[in-house]
């Protein structure tokens, strides 16, 4: 198993798309952070008071850009799994380890590391952004770093679990484009609809489970005003995400992954 994990790590380190994903996470996080920070204070559509710049509550909102890492981690996980089929490297991979479930397990382990790396890139970008705001006179460095440290564990947990959820989705669907469409589609389209219509169903879905893990303020999460009372307790949210990763991976290992490689 250690060998398989090392092999999977080597695969990731030797293609550009891994580095590109990490870089895009950093750039995207900084971009969203800037956009949120510069949003007008008294926008007509925002029913709630936007906290004053430089306050901890304001930094909470700026750092909510870290949630982007969850989506990139999902994409990363999907690519780690489905790349084998897209590039037909499944043949050499399964020749080297014909017990395909073990390959999926190694990829699950590696995806956790990939999630950490993606999060690290996002946090680095957020920290640099925070430093720039401090330098520009908004708040002080201790408070800024304190807020970042406070929200980090929740985003980290959610990101890591999202990467492994991507592995499960990839294992079950096998087709890269399909898995990306389903994964991102559920997050960006299906869940918002469910949350609006049936929050008690929607909360069992991946992104809502991830939100329950986030340790940031509800104000930062809510998009200013949405009711978040439906979210699961965070430990349940974590279990739900672990469940998605494991159940989908297992289901994939028993179905799609066992199919003929021709």
């Amino acid at each position: 198993m250690t060998r398989l994990v090392r092999s999977e790590v080597a695969k990731l380190l030797t293609i550009r798309s891994s580095y590109a994903l990490v870089l895009m996470t950093a750039v995207g996080t900084a971009g969203i952070g800037v956009a949120v920070a510069l949003a007008p204070h008294n926008h007509g559509l925002q029913r709630l008071i936007f906290p004053a710049r430089g306050t901890p509550a304001w930094y909470d909102i700026v750092f909510s850009a870290l949630a982007l890492a969850e989506d990139f981690a999902l994409v990363f996980g999907i690519i780690i799994m489905t790349g084998e089929f897209r590039h037909k490297t499944a043949t050499p991979t399964f020749l080297a380890e014909p017990r395909r479930g073990r390959v999926a397990a190694a990829k699950l382990v590696v995806s956790l590391g990939a999630g950490v790396v993606v999060m690290a890139a996002a946090v680095l970008a957020a920290f640099v952004l925070g430093l720039s705001f401090v330098a520009a006179g908004y708040g002080d460095i201790g408070e800024m770093a304190g807020r970042l440290g406070h929200v980090l564990p929740g985003y980290l947990a959610a990101t890591v679990l999202f990467a492994s959820y991507g592995i499960g989705l990839g294992a079950l669907l096998k087709n890269q484009v399909l898995a990306l469409v389903v994964g991102l589609g559920v997050t960006a389209v299906v869940e918002p609809i469910l949350i609006a219509a049936w929050p008690n169903v929607g909360r069992w879905f991946p992104s809502e489970a991830a939100r329950s893990l986030e340790t940031t303020s509800r104000l930062a999460q809510s998009g200013f005003g949405a009711d978040l009372g439906h979210l699961l307790p965070s430990w349940e949210g974590a279990l739900v995400l672990v469940g998605y990763a494991l159940v989908l991976s297992l289901a994939g290992s028993l179905t799609t992954l066992r199919s003929d490689i021709t």
């Binding site: 060998r3 398989l4 090392r6 092999s7 080597a10 695969k11 030797t14 293609i15 550009r16 798309s17 790349g83 590039h87 037909k88 490297t89 499944a90 043949t91 050499p92 991979t93 399964f94 020749l95 080297a96 380890e97 014909p98 017990r99 066992r258 003929d260 490689i261 021709t262």
Partner: protein, 307 residues
Amino acid sequence: MQPATVEVRHLTKRFGDVLAVDDLSFSVEASRVTGFLGPNGAGKTTALRMLLGLVRPTSGQALVNGVPYRLLAQPVRTVGAVLESSGFHPGRSARDHLRAIALATGVTLSRVDEVLELVGLRSDGRRRVGGYSMGMRQRLELARALLGEPAVLVLDEPANGLDPQGIAWLRSLLRYLASEGMLVLISSHLLAEAAQTVDEVIIIDRGHLAAKGELADLLGGGGSTVRLRTTEPERLVSSLAARQIACRREEGDAVVAESTTPEAVGRVVAEDQIVILEMTNSTESLEELFFSMTAGGSLPTSQPAST
């Protein structure tokens, strides 16, 4: 060490309506090169992929050293395989591709440079595979097959895309490996090339076994065909017939004796003192054997209409 074995028992694979491999049974021995031949769509690739655990048989078994590939303790060190439509990540270098496999299988990393050297890719090993030519990719596949120093080689059209030097090199490599005790099973459409490389052939047609045996026996088993020109064709025909040698007259002064040997015909001619103008001897080629054993594949064999 026990010599390696490959055995296929009642192997069957159905893809929907297509019966790709149909109750195929054969065994392959070590220390020789065995050709696995058949027309397009005969089921060669499917059978080899079942042998390698990549395709699940509908029924029957494919065994390497007595066990299914999936149960081999060290598959890459036991079997090396070259397969059509096996892939590479285009952005990864050949060396990194092989290193990932070496890491997964416990093969030492220095072996990666050895096999790259062996297939002539040493100086290109750090290039991204996306930029490789077809022949270079095929060499990389060979390098991967040899990575674990296996005792069994399974090669599906390994000469695909290789240049003439590469084909000659591959032939001598396979001959050498077989002489060292390796079991080599190779599918190929290059029959003239295969005839020079293989000791034994297995011919399949539409998923069935059509012929199997020593190449020399299959080709020589029916004896050879001796063509003669003589001043007395009628007398030659009756002399040959009197000795139970199958023969027929052809145009002019030609006589053809079949399933015999030049020596037998020569003795008849000498004993009966018949004047011979010309005598040629031909044995069946692998190509003729192939055509006679297979229905010619699923593709149309008629001449294309001229335009």
